[in-house]
Each structure stands twice: as structure tokens, then as C-alpha cells.
């Protein structure tokens, strides 16, 4: 119980710190936290992206739209490359308004593994949390219908493996 309380407290702390448009640099502990289903109490997408990934930008734009139309959905963006001045500009342009992260100084392979040990570097990649302790991972740009299914927003779990 204490452990659960600790996770919730840490979740609120981490999410609150990233709630502004500021981009937080990611360290290993925060990366592990972002990849942990116990960190979330609302449906959440953690979307990996990079400046050189056109598919990611379309995806973030669509996820941002989903976030605006379905308020209970949280979209967290993680730039899987060292923080760059263009990250904020691009996210603003795409209207990706959720918490924002970018890689810090640690070895990228370490951060990637902490976020998602099954990820092999392809982009886009996203983690889907239903907010009740379940997690799914998917690569590529998915339709918003599929995203909603993965988040169990429509009570349909047919897309879940």
C-alpha cells in the first residue's frame, strides 16, 4: 500500500513538473517511471518522436487533436534525442500540448531501454496506458480509432493483444 502511495505521489510530482510547455530532460529514473503502467490513473499515450521523423509529426498532431476532443486522455511526448531548441517550436506547431520530454545526457540506449525494453529504435513508437494498470506498445502511425481501442476508451478491447 505504501508502495502504491509512493508511486502515485511520484506520478503526480513528475507529471506536474512536466505539465507546462517546458521540455523536461529525461533521466533513467524518469524514463522508467514513464514506462510504468502504475504511473497513470488516466488513459495516457507516451509518444516517442524525433525531429527527423515525418510520420511522428503527423501522429503527434492527431494525438494532440484526440487530447483536445477527449479531455481525459493524456498525451506525453518524448523526443528520443538530446534536447534541441526546435523541439518546443515543432510541438507548439503541432499543438501537442501535453507534458514534454527529451533525452538528457545519459546514453540513448539506456534511456530507450528504460522507457520500453522491447523498442528497437523504429519511429513513431508509443506506449498506451488505460490508467488502470495496463500497458500496450505499438510502433508506427496508428489510426485514432485504433488508439482509442488501445486505450479502451470505447469499451472495445479487440485491438489488444
Amino acid at each position: 500500500m505504501k508502495k502504491l502511495f509512493g508511486w502515485v505521489a511520484l506520478s503526480l510530482m513528475v507529471l506536474a513538473s512536466a505539465a507546462s510547455a517546458e521540455i523536461q530532460t529525461l533521466d533513467r529514473a524518469t524514463a522508467s517511471h514513464l514506462g510504468n503502467p502504475n504511473s497513470y490513473t488516466v488513459p495516457t499515450v507516451v509518444a516517442f518522436w524525433s525531429l527527423d521523423c515525418p510520420h511522428c509529426k503527423h501522429y503527434l498532431q492527431e494525438l494532440g487533436e484526440l487530447n483536445r476532443t477527449r479531455e481525459q486522455v493524456q498525451v506525453i511526448s518524448v523526443a528520443v534525442e538530446p534536447l534541441h531548441k526546435e523541439h518546443g517550436e515543432v510541438l507548439d506547431e503541432l499543438r501537442s500540448d501535453g507534458p514534454r520530454y527529451a533525452y538528457g545526457d545519459e546514453v540513448p540506449a539506456v534511456l530507450g531501454y528504460a522507457l520500453d525494453p522491447d523498442w528497437r529504435g523504429e519511429l513513431p513508437r508509443a506506449l498506451f496506458f488505460d490508467g488502470r494498470g495496463n500497458k500496450l506498445t505499438r510502433s508506427g502511425r496508428l489510426s485514432m480509432a485504433t488508439v482509442k481501442t488501445l486505450l479502451e476508451l470505447d469499451g472495445d478491447a479487440s485491438g489488444i493483444e
Binding site: V107, A109, V110, R120, G121, E122, G140
Partner: protein, 399 residues
């Protein structure tokens, strides 16, 4: 008189110790001869390597806005002082999939190619510099005639036995034309340019294929008949990111695009994971590639042929990545990176029956820092793997 560097003395001493330790075992892993410390930035470790007929090992790394050539007369034990390749500074790509390349021209010249990113994102030019003596380089030039600010990136360089110098690259001019007309265009094009004067000049470029994947390295090898073989990740309709093979005959006439792998990874994503290719004397096309097949991401090895690859098998563990392949007669050598959550390992595996069966995996090195992809450099029966790491510099292993 050339100046010599002793790189990574500490590592050198450790490896000497390891060498003597392993000397008494029958399956001792090869030991690195040096850890050359370069001025490459940790995020830009992409390294080109070539082994010359005279035994010199040449590597090219990015140091700021310059490329530096390091040469070793003794397979990595000692290194000459670096030579600056581009006198004028410019932006240079030097990451894993888009590293600078180095090759030996048949007239004894040394050739270096690279991608020069332009101001607009995803754009670039393919550049080439030539040295007649390996010490001073002529002013670099842009290889293609098209100077639009678009994608010309991910170059690969090949010198054929006849002496022709060929460059291939990812090129988005046809995508730009299609988009301007309001039409869809899947992926990017592949273009080529050929030099018949040992890299001093190139004829106008020409298209090899449409619909390549946009961000993976291209494998480029000579076939037994003097043709060039180009292997790349393709976007087959509607979005299957398998591999395609094309033969460019000695008269530079491109053949058809042939599907080379059939893993059917349907995804709208950038895998950042290009293939490797080596052609045996009997014409067998040994290849390594990464794909997600039936939901499982894996590095694969197989013989490319018409239809599905022969003898396709997975390589390494579930996190194997960025493999390379070389062949000497029936001896097939694979190398790859594998991250275990804490460290990235450099592994090798060999087959002495042309790839039918493989011996057990050997670990060559590991590091907790950033790494480049492993690069094989071959000259006849001599084979080296060059591994540029953030913490130990450039490690060289004789395989």
C-alpha cells in the same frame, strides 16, 4: 617521417593481458589492437573504414565540421596523425545509418564520401573528396547535378574491379515533383552517379528506383560479373518495409527492382536499420537485415535469391542490431551490436560451410557508453571489424 599515436594505452595493456589469458584456450576471441581516441562527438561516432591492398587500414570520422582520416599501417596497433579531408568547415552527417565512407580508387587514390546536411530539415548533398597520395585531399565537390534543397542523403560508395567509382543515395526529387502536383508518393527515390576517372568527376546522376524507405543505410557490393548490387529497405505497397535488390550492370544499365525479403513488416515508421550484403566467389549473396516478422523484431541472415531468401535464420538475441556480413570462400562472418539494458556488446559469429551452420557466438567487447555500428573492412582473406565507441575510442579486431 610520419608521426605515430598510441591510442588508449590503458585499454592496450588490458587487452595484452587478455590476449595472454586467452592464448591457452582453443576458441580464444580476437583481441583489439588499439583504442584510437578521436575527437568525434559522442553522438556522431559514425565511422567509415577500408582496408587497402597495401595493408593500410583507413578510417574516417567526423571531428566538428571536418572529416578526419586516420590510417594504420599495422591493422590498428599504431595510427598516423590524422589528415583533414575538407579544409573548409561544413555540416557533415556521421551517425550510425549515415556515416562517412572511405574507399580505395584503382589508381591508388583515396576517396571519401559523405552527406552534407543543408539548412532545411531532411535535406542534404552528397559530397566527395579525393586524395592522390592519402595525405592531402582535393577540394570536395557535390556529386549530383540537382542542387535543389531537398533530400540527397544516405550515400554509399563502391569502387568496382574495373575502376569505376559509383555512388548511390536516397533522393526525394520525384517525391517533391509528385507532391507539387498534389499526388501521393510512397517513400523516396534511389539515384546513382558513376565516375570513370577514379572519382575526379561524375557523369550526371540517374534514377535506380522509386519507393525506398527514407532513413536506412544502403548496402552496395560488386557482383561476380562486375555488376553492382544495391540492396535497400523498400516500401512495398501499401506499407511493407521489406528489402529490394537491384543489379546495375557494368554499362550502368539498371535492372528491375526485385523483392529480396518477405518478412512483411507493415508499418508507417522509420526503422533506422539498413541491411548488409557480401557476395561470395560463387555468386551467393549473403545478407543480414533487420525486420519485424510475425510480431518479433530480429536481425536475420540469409542468401538472397529470386523469391524468399534461402536459409533465413535469426542472428543473436532479441536485441541484436545493425549487423554486418563478410565472406571469404566458405567462411561467413557476422558482427552485430546487442544492448542488454546496461551495456552494448559487440558480437561475432562464423560459419565455415557457407552459412548453412554457424559456430557459437563470440563476444569481442562491450561498453556502457555510446557506440557506432560495427563496420567490417576486408581485403582478400584479411578481415577486420572496426567499432567506434565513446569510452574506448576506435577498437579494431582481426577476425
Amino acid at each position: 617521417m610520419s608521426q605515430f599515436f598510441r591510442g588508449g594505452i590503458k585499454l592496450w595493456l588490458i587487452l595484452l593481458g587478455l590476449t595472454s589469458l586467452f592464448a591457452c584456450t582453443s576458441h580464444s576471441p580476437p583481441s583489439s589492437l588499439a583504442g584510437l581516441v578521436t575527437q568525434a562527438e559522442p553522438a556522431q561516432l559514425g565511422t567509415g573504414a577500408a582496408l587497402a591492398a597495401d595493408g593500410n587500414l583507413h578510417i574516417v570520422v567526423r571531428e566538428g565540421e571536418h572529416l578526419a582520416l586516420y590510417s594504420s599501417p599495422d591493422l590498428g596497433a599504431n595510427w598516423n596523425a590524422p589528415t583533414r579531408i575538407n579544409a573548409e568547415p561544413e555540416a557533415i552527417s556521421a551517425n550510425g545509418e549515415n556515416r562517412p565512407k572511405v574507399a580505395l580508387a584503382k589508381d591508388g587514390g583515396l576517396l571519401v564520401s559523405w552527406t552534407h546536411p543543408l539548412a532545411k530539415r531532411f535535406t542534404g548533398e552528397i559530397r566527395l573528396a579525393r586524395s592522390g597520395d592519402g595525405r592531402t585531399f582535393n577540394e570536395p565537390f557535390t556529386v549530383h547535378r540537382d542542387r535543389s534543397e531537398i533530400t540527397h542523403r544516405f550515400d554509399s560508395l563502391l569502387v568496382t574491379k574495373s575502376g569505376d567509382v559509383l555512388l548511390v543515395w536516397i533522393d526525394k526529387r520525384d517525391m517533391e515533383i509528385a507532391h507539387a502536383a498534389g499526388e501521393e508518393y510512397r517513400g523516396a527515390g534511389i539515384y546513382a552517379a558513376v565516375s570513370t576517372d577514379h572519382g575526379r568527376s561524375f557523369a550526371p546522376e540517374f534514377k535506380l528506383a522509386d519507393h525506398a524507405c527514407e532513413c536506412c543505410r544502403i548496402a552496395f557490393e560488386e557482383d561476380v560479373d562486375g555488376s553492382a548490387l544495391v540492396l535497400w529497405r523498400h516500401v512495398f505497397e501499401p506499407n511493407e518495409r521489406d528489402h529490394a535488390l537491384l543489379r546495375l550492370d557494368p554499362a550502368q544499365v539498371p535492372g528491375p527492382v526485385q523483392r529480396a525479403t518477405f518478412d512483411r513488416w507493415a508499418i508507417d515508421a522509420c526503422p533506422h536499420h539498413g541491411p548488409g550484403l557480401a557476395v561470395a566467389d560463387d555468386g551467393t549473396r549473403h545478407s543480414v537485415w533487420f525486420n519485424v516478422r510475425e510480431g518479433e523484431p530480429q536481425v536475420f541472415y540469409g542468401h538472397l535469391q529470386s523469391g524468399e531468401p534461402e536459409g533465413q535464420r535469426s542472428v543473436g538475441g532479441s536485441r541484436a542490431a545493425h549487423a554486418d556480413v563478410a565472406v571469404r570462400g566458405d567462411l561467413v562472418t557476422l558482427v552485430w551490436n546487442e544492448f542488454d539494458g546496461e551495456r552494448t556488446h559487440l558480437y561475432t559469429q562464423t560459419s565455415s560451410d557457407g552459412g548453412k551452420t554457424f559456430e557459437s557466438v563470440q563476444s569481442l567487447s562491450s561498453t556502457s557508453g555510446r557506440v557506432d555500428q560495427p563496420r567490417l573492412a576486408q581485403q582478400g582473406d584479411k578481415l577486420l571489424v572496426v567499432w567506434h565507441t565513446e569510452l574506448a575510442g576506435v577498437e579494431v579486431y582481426s577476425l
